[in-house]
């Protein structure tokens, strides 16, 4: 997860043209889609009464809203007005939701989905009043530390790429699994919306059993189909966000993303048995961690019709918090989701904060000023203030974040990339005084890196990087050798970074360090809002990158940032090395953790020592500051996530 924001006009543009609505809407093109397992169980007790054209109705379940004009569409003993995944109003070729005078499309029990994906995922009218008004919670929290710089571009789990917005997304949604990092040395993946998670022996198939009774804040029940639909949505090529490459893990995901398939063939939802079966495209032993990530969050049906615009309205969510009102450029307000049934062990934190007001601040200094003036309860800690902040306030500086701050190179750039410039890149890496940067810019509040993957990640190895220590003489020698081999700087090296986010000073030190051995470089600050898009589009020459782990796996650093598959996603440095890719693929498939670690270490060594595809600078510590007179407990995970539902206010 990137630490700082990214956005793009173009992504927004594409999003608005989404075809998800058409695909998951009420067109009937079910012939070529893999229908989920058909079940006929009708737990609601009603019988399928259909009108004349029963042939068109989908089999089974109680999804048959009837098409006949005259029949009451059954109502068993179950009087729930609407239920979760089974309320598809349409049937077969008949696209009118209901016909005749009878407008109650569905009733019956709450299991047994069937029909084509399109039908199942189609939004249903009349849902969404179940949760009722949120009750007044215990106190209010004004958060100035999350949205700093610009309002987030996306808060849709399928589109968001920044940690800033993930704080909000994570407070709003619960995924299949969660990572319990209470013991940072030994993070544990636990089921959340899933009740059980099982994997077959060779890590090619994962089965998630969904807990009965999980629901969205509007009362829509969460069933395996809910996930299936959400994933179809997230992988729709016309809508998909920058993280969508993660769908490649699943069999058929690549085809779906490429627009060659209508559905992800590897996903099977059985709402009867509450089982979600996911076939991997290649063995993947860490999928349980990935499955808890935002891209795989369940999404309500209402999100499917017009996916690009969904995040601009009243999103419906299943986590501890839900939107109070649609987001604005100035703030995003969450309130307690009273329909939330709690953590996997039922813990609902009844005293959790009632309302969280995420305010957008212009920059960290402004936000910190406002925090100090008592206008908010949390803020992002400007590094220069670390020492005084520790004296006066509570901070999360004690949390060692699973994240890396580094510079990436663009291997496709003639001036810096490729084999012929390896020595130049080595010289750059050795010329940078990382300790100076840590002292000057971060008040010593970071750990100087010895590689990309930080300690705390299973498989971490110390001192992987041979060229990451400050060694001006060796750097000079490497640079001289590069020059002797015919290397010449046609123009100063441009170092890209997102302006106004505190990187100016780092880049200045780097430029000064490089200048000391004769490498010409200049700062190339970019607008924060479009920075990552520009980098992804190939603007990176030597660009500042930051990464917070999405889940505590080695793979999350190697695969997401440097693998060839991620080229259109988070691999801005465009590291292109088949050997590297192979090692990562191999490691990913390995079920033996020790063996995987060795392979990942080898891959990272290639990246850092052979290709010199990145320059690690430092590893993060938590950088939130909070008013400890008001907040008695402010839990932050080592992924940098604030557990809002567990925040305790001092009474």
């Amino acid at each position: 997860m990137r630490r700082h924001r990214k956005s793009s006009a173009l992504i927004a543009v594409l999003a608005s043209f989404s075809l998800v609505a058409a695909a998951c809407g009420d067109d009937d093109e079910s012939g070529d889609t893999a229908a989920p397992e058909v079940t006929t169980g009708d737990t609601g007790g009603g019988t399928d009464t259909t009108g004349g054209d029963t042939t068109a109705t989908t089999a089974g379940g109680d999804t048959t809203p009837t098409t006949g004009g005259d029949t009451t569409p059954t109502t068993g003993g179950d009087t729930t007005p609407t239920t979760g995944g089974d309320t598809t109003p349409t049937t077969g070729g008949d696209t009118t939701p209901t016909t005749g005078g009878d407008t109650t499309p569905t009733t019956g029990g709450d299991t047994g989905a069937s029909g084509s994906v399109e039908e199942i995922c189609a939004p249903t009218e009349g849902e969404g009043e179940a949760a009722g008004e949120p009750e007044e919670g215990a106190g209010e929290l004004i958060d100035l530390g999350t949205l700093v710089g610009d309002p987030p571009e996306h808060i849709d789990p399928a589109l968001n790429v920044t940690l800033d917005a993930y704080q909000i997304v994570n407070a709003m949604y619960d995924g299949l699994t969660e990572i319990d990092a209470t013991d940072p040395e030994n993070p544990e993946i636990r089921p959340l919306v899933a009740e059980t998670v099982e994997v077959n022996e060779d890590a090619t198939e994962w089965v998630f059993t969904i807990r009965e009774g999980s629901q969205f804040s509007d009362g829509e029940l969460i069933v395996p189909t809910t996930f299936q639909c959400a994933w179809e949505r997230a992988s729709d090529p016309d809508f998909a966000g920058d993280y969508s490459y993660l769908m490649n893990f699943i069999e058929g995901g690549a085809e779906k993303l490429a627009g060659e398939a209508e559905t992800i063939s590897g996903v099977t939802a059985d709402d009867e048995a509450m089982m979600l079966t996911v076939a991997m495209s290649a063995p993947y032993a860490n999928f349980d961690a990935v499955a808890g990530f935002q891209l795989f969050f369940p999404m309500p049906k209402s999100s499917i019709e017009n996916p690009g615009d969904y995040e601009n309205g009243m999103m419906v969510s299943n986590g501890p918090y839900m939107l109070e009102s649609a987001r604005t450029d100035e703030q995003i307000v969450l309130v307690r989701n009273e329909a939330w049934q709690g953590d996997y062990d039922g813990e609902t934190w009844p005293d959790r904060v009632g309302r969280i007001d995420f305010n957008v601040s212009a920059d960290p200094d402004t936000a910190y000023n406002a925090f100090e003036a008592g206008e908010g309860d949390t803020a992002l800690l400007p590094p220069a203030r670390a020492v005084e902040a520790q004296e006066n306030w509570g901070t999360t500086l004690d949390v060692e974040i699973l994240g890396s701050f580094h510079f990436g190179f663009n291997q496709r750039d003639e001036a810096i990339g490729g084999e012929e410039n390896t020595l130049l890149r080595q010289a750059i890496s050795q010329a940078i005084n990382r300790d100076d940067i840590n002292e000057a810019v971060y008040n010593g509040t970071r750990q100087t890196s010895t590689g990309i993957t930080p300690p705390g990640i299973p498989g971490f190895a110390e001192n992987l990087c041979e060229f990451c220590a400050y060694d001006p003489e060796a750097a000079q020698a490497a640079f001289d050798e590069w020059t002797a081999n015919g290397g010449e700087q046609a123009e100063p090296l441009r170092i890209q970074f997102n302006a106004d986010s505190g990187w100016e000073a780092v880049v200045e030190i780097v430029i000064d360090n490089l200048g000391a051995i004769g490498i010409q470089a200049e700062a190339d600050p970019r607008d924060s809002e479009t920075y990552f898009t520009e980098m992804a589009e190939g603007d990176c020459q030597m660009c500042r990158l930051g990464w917070y782990a999405d889940y505590p796996t080695y793979d999350n650093f190697m695969y997401d940032l440097f693998h060839g598959d991620s080229l259109d996603g988070n691999n801005f440095g465009a590291n292109l090395n088949e050997e590297f890719d192979q090692l990562v693929d191999e490691a990913k498939q390995s079920i033996d953790a020790d063996e995987a670690a060795v392979l990942y270490n080898q891959a990272e060594a290639i990246l850092l020592n052979q290709d010199i595809g990145a320059v690690p600078i430092n590893w993060y510590l938590g950088d939130q500051v909070y008013n400890d007179e008001k907040i008695s407990n402010f839990p932050m995970t080592n992924q940098g996530l604030i557990l809002y539902e567990q925040i305790e206010l001092a009474s």
Partner: protein
Amino acid sequence: MTIVDPHASAPAPGIPSGGEAGIADVATAPQPLRVDIVKRFLRNPLAVAGFSFLVFLVLVAVFADLIAPMGFAERTQPQVSREGPSSEHWFGTDITGRDVFSRVVYGSRVSLKIGILATTLALTIGVMFGSAAGYFGGWIDTFMMRITDVFLAIPYIILAISIATVFGRSENAVILVLGLTGWLPISRIVRASFLGLKQLEYVEAATALGFGKGRIMFRHILPNALQPIIVYGTVSIGSAILSEAALSFLGVGPRSPTPAWGLMVAEAGAGSLASAPHILFFPGLAIFLTVLAFVLVGDGLRDALDPKLK
């Protein structure tokens, strides 16, 4: 606006002294002697103080290499960062460990350069434009004034940020931006002076003698219209230095590590007030004193050039 009595107090926009009643006086009354001007200027202690400061500043700029102990982009080795003022670093060091005193000293070059060149550019365009409009009058005047209307209607800062965005970020771009936006009020002032002056007898006499238009405009009228231009120009230099700060704050000023004072202040940011105020204070003080000096000198010049006021 139409005014019945041309000598009524219809002010030319932007003349600090207010009112153009002086214009007629200047032309009819004999030119004040230079000696008198200097004497009157010297009688104003604030103006003298301002002028002395400017002389001092120019000397600092000229001899910056000798005064500054370090280069403006040079970092202390080993790194000493964010340290308060000490005998070694008089103004302390900034975040990346550069000597603030040296940067402020070198900054005098950048800031004076921006101020003076931008004002020169603005004066050149403004005087040409305004004198042509004022001298020729008629449809030429109307047309030219409509042009200034158009540009004056776009708020200066929007125009400036837009132009700066187009030109990219550099010292020279800032000069260009400020020059291209600064000429508008000057042209108004010059035009107003010319309108008044060209109706006076001596100009009519010169016309009757058959002097060329250019000669009349620049040899006969312009010298008499100089007062408000000089005063406005002086104050403008200060304003340009301030504008550089504003543009830097908005991210369209010069680029680091240029030691422009405005950029230094903008980079220090609000946060430094509590943690390392010297990073913001010294370049801020330099801007403040310099702008103040230009304003005070401008005041002094206005009073000295306009004998009526004493």
